[in-house]
């Protein structure tokens, strides 16, 4: 889920009229010094990281002067916290806290409603409070079309023993929090602690907000770079992958790295699943054999071949892999040859140098396995393809055997598929790339299989070379589904004159 930093959450809280301490975010010690000076009071410097227990990790420090603020920021910036590098600190005025409370909103999957939670004890985790002092916690499920009226909010605080003016102020803060979560479609939102200062003001001293990934598109103002559930900032490769997904809405492509900085021989496998359930079983099969998962990837929901190709390229760009394992549910409703073509293109372009096992069971699996079989013999490493009657365990075992075998036998010789400059180029664009045909090759091509391979009837022959049979704009808008059939036909049965260019911005070659 897309998590926001404390300072981002607080910014929104203040827009919803919930008071927050005066503060500023800083990315360098100098900025922190400047921020402290402009606040003009003793400050507190807080690491911006999605981890709990920042104080005990040394990520929260007090500073009485601008100079001290700079030093504190110097110590915190760049700190490693539970695998999270701190890049920003929040410089905030110190507040005199009289009392601490808790307010939260979370979606209850059983009730299918948001639940608001309050407690007269704040500061520590709400689970612990609920365990040790259940009487000090009150909750209410919210009817989504009704929302949370102020009197509901006040009644909740009443249940934990709060009355009078304070009840009213805390009630308003709770309504503000709920409305914020509703407006920004938060899976969860928490103010912990919600404090009362010595001068009687209610203020949000912290804020954790997690926005629903699927709703991020409706909130461009949040500036969320990558709407994915991660417990750390995205890696450069994850950002590259996310961009692929962001510009192409056909099917789903999900990529996260589970490990980095590993080396060959350590047993890390590039994992490529299709569908959550089958993916998990397939990863279990690898783990059972003592392998480790370098990345989790899922291409499902009927993605075009071009997306599977890009996914494979991204997975293979990780260094130090010992094998490639693609395995989904085994009995997929989607046409499996789409994935097969994506794999073939990727493997031939990079010259697959780690053993790969591809389990592509489902609709049209025979065709899919045949396509992979055609390409297997020409690769430096071995590639095997299986269907619905072969279990993930069996396929994992095959991969293990291939890895052992390669250790002994080494790589086979291979000339990677290279793109030669076209002598008579003919180009047109597709949804996410372009197709270039070298008509100089086509003249000598006997059967011109590219034309028949395209079931979308995009190509026709003119002067013994293929040209567009459809309007340029129509092809670009999606008539060409980037199914890669023409390129594979051309390579294996034609004269090698066709190249589909599917760029992956910023991926190193």
């Amino acid at each position: 889920m897309a998590r926001l930093f404390e300072y981002q959450g607080k910014e929104i809280l203040s827009r919803m009229k919930i008071p927050i301490p005066k503060g500023q975010v800083a990315r360098t010690p100098e900025e922190a010094e400047e921020a402290a000076r402009s606040i003009g009071k003793p400050v507190i410097i807080k690491a911006q990281a999605w981890v709990t227990g920042r104080a005990s990790l040394g990520g929260i420090r007090k500073a009485d002067s601008a100079d001290e603020a700079r030093k504190a920021a110097e110590a915190i910036l760049g700190m490693e916290m539970k695998g999270f590098t701190v890049n920003e600190v929040l410089v905030e005025e110190q507040i005199d806290i009289d009392q601490e409370f808790y307010a939260g909103v979370i979606i209850d999957d059983v009730a299918r409603r948001p639940v608001v939670i309050v407690s007269s004890m704040g500061g520590t985790g709400i689970e612990e409070i609920a365990q040790s002092h259940p009487d000090k916690v009150a909750t209410q499920k919210v009817k989504i079309t009704r929302g949370l009226p102020a009197h509901d909010a006040r009644n909740l605080w009443r249940k934990v023993g709060i009355s009078g003016k304070l009840q009213m102020k805390l009630g308003n803060a709770l309504v503000g929090l709920y409305n914020m979560c509703r407006k920004y479609e938060a899976r969860s939102g928490e103010i912990n602690p919600l404090v009362v200062t010595n001068d009687g003001q209610v203020m949000a001293a912290d804020c954790r907000l997690t926005v629903d990934d699927y709703a991020v598109f409706r909130h461009p103002d949040l500036g969320i770079e990558i709407a994915r559930e991660l417990d750390r900032p995205a890696t450069p490769l994850e950002k590259i992958a996310y961009q692929v997904e962001a510009v192409d809405y056909r099917g789903t492509f999900y990529f996260i790295q589970m490990a980095q900085g590993f080396r060959e021989g350590e047993g890390y496998i590039g994992f490529h699943g299709a569908g959550g359930g089958g993916s998990m079983m397939s990863m279990d099969a690898l783990l059972k054999r003592g392998y480790k998962i370098a990345n989790f990837t899922d291409t499902s929901g009927n993605p075009p071949s071009s997306k599977v190709y890009r996914a494979a390229r991204i997975i293979l760009s990780q260094e130090g892999l010992d094998g490639y394992f693609a395995s989904g549910s085994g009995v997929a409703s989607q046409e499996q040859f789409h994935s097969a073509r994506g794999f073939v293109k990727a493997f031939r372009e990079v010259g697959l140098s780690i053993p790969a096992v591809i389990r592509l069971g489902g609709n049209f699996e025979e065709e899919a396995i045949e396509i992979l079989g055609k390409c297997a013999s020409g690769l430096p490493s071995k590639l095997e393809a299986y269907g619905r009657d072969d279990s993930p365990d069996f396929c994992a075992e095959r991969l293990q055997l291939l890895i052992e075998e390669q250790k002994k036998a080494g790589l086979r010789s291979f000339t990677p598929r290279k793109r030669n400059p076209a002598r008579k180029p003919y180009r047109f664009e597709t949804v996410t790339g372009s197709i270039e045909i070298d008509h100089a090759c086509c003249v000598q091509c006997k059967d011109k299989p590219c034309v028949a391979a395209c079931t979308r009837e995009i190509l026709k022959i003119e002067d013994s070379a293929p040209v567009l049979a459809q309007e340029v704009a129509v092809v670009k808008k999606g008539r060409c589904t980037e199914c890669l059939a023409c390129e594979i036909a051309c390579e294996f049965e034609g004269n090698g004159g066709l190249w589909i260019d599917l760029p992956i911005p910023e991926l190193k070659e």
Partner: protein
Amino acid sequence: MSILIDKEKRVLIQGITGREGMTRAKLMMDYGSQVVAGCTPGKKGEVVHGVTVYDTVQEAVEATGRIDVSVIFVPAPLIKGAALEAIEAGVKLLVIVPDRVPIYDVLEIAEAAEQNGAQFVGPNTLGVISPGKAVVGMIGGRARTANEWFKPGPVGVMSRSGGITSAISYYLTQEGLGQTTAIHVGGDAVVGLPLHEVVKHFQADDETRMVVMFGEIGTAQEEKVADLIEQGKFTKPLVAFVGGKAAKSGTRFSHAGAIVEGNRGSHEGKVKRLREVGAHVVDAFGDIPKVARRVLEEAGKQSGDA
């Protein structure tokens, strides 16, 4: 019998003129589902595979007399509008296929469904199939494969993973065990008909003699099924597999919607709870068909003895 869908149910397809809607309309009709109308705003009068398209659901209902099920294929941001339209037009069962539907939209749909006595499968579902009768959604891909993978029989199949719904059914079929109905409840955290609701339908269906369940980490669905067994509200044999042992805490596996939140929703927690109440939880997915056969035979003997 079967649950939720059969030959008699009159089906509407919302978004029938789109890429998926068009393809899957063919699957459904080839398989035997009674698709009586399509709906795409602004496309009234078009005909897709012989099915007439209407501008609104209300219009489709009026023109065809009765709609029992609406299968929705519109893009995720438009799902809420389409679903509310169908519910308010009186459709009692929706099948919401697309994924990435914002969660607050699902909450609104859930509330409207509750108020109108409607149910919905999904979002992010592959669909529902009653072998030999009808299919809604995209499960099976095309009629030929659907006929090969799914066969009529005594087992109810429910799963939180789409592909696995087909996989289980296919492997059961190989073992000679057919299915009453196979349903993919949807991969998201909040779904219309979670496992613990589906199981009630299977309980009420005479022909379903046992249920096979594929659970996953995250949410409380499997625990809720266990509660029903404990309370005596679900009494048929249950064979279950819970996926996601490999999942790292806090990491969600794609649209599998699997979030580990403390112990609730964890792999161990679910397995333990299901075993406590007497469900047959298998450790290896591949064991499902064998165990299902054994369990069914034992149940047969018991009822024979009685």
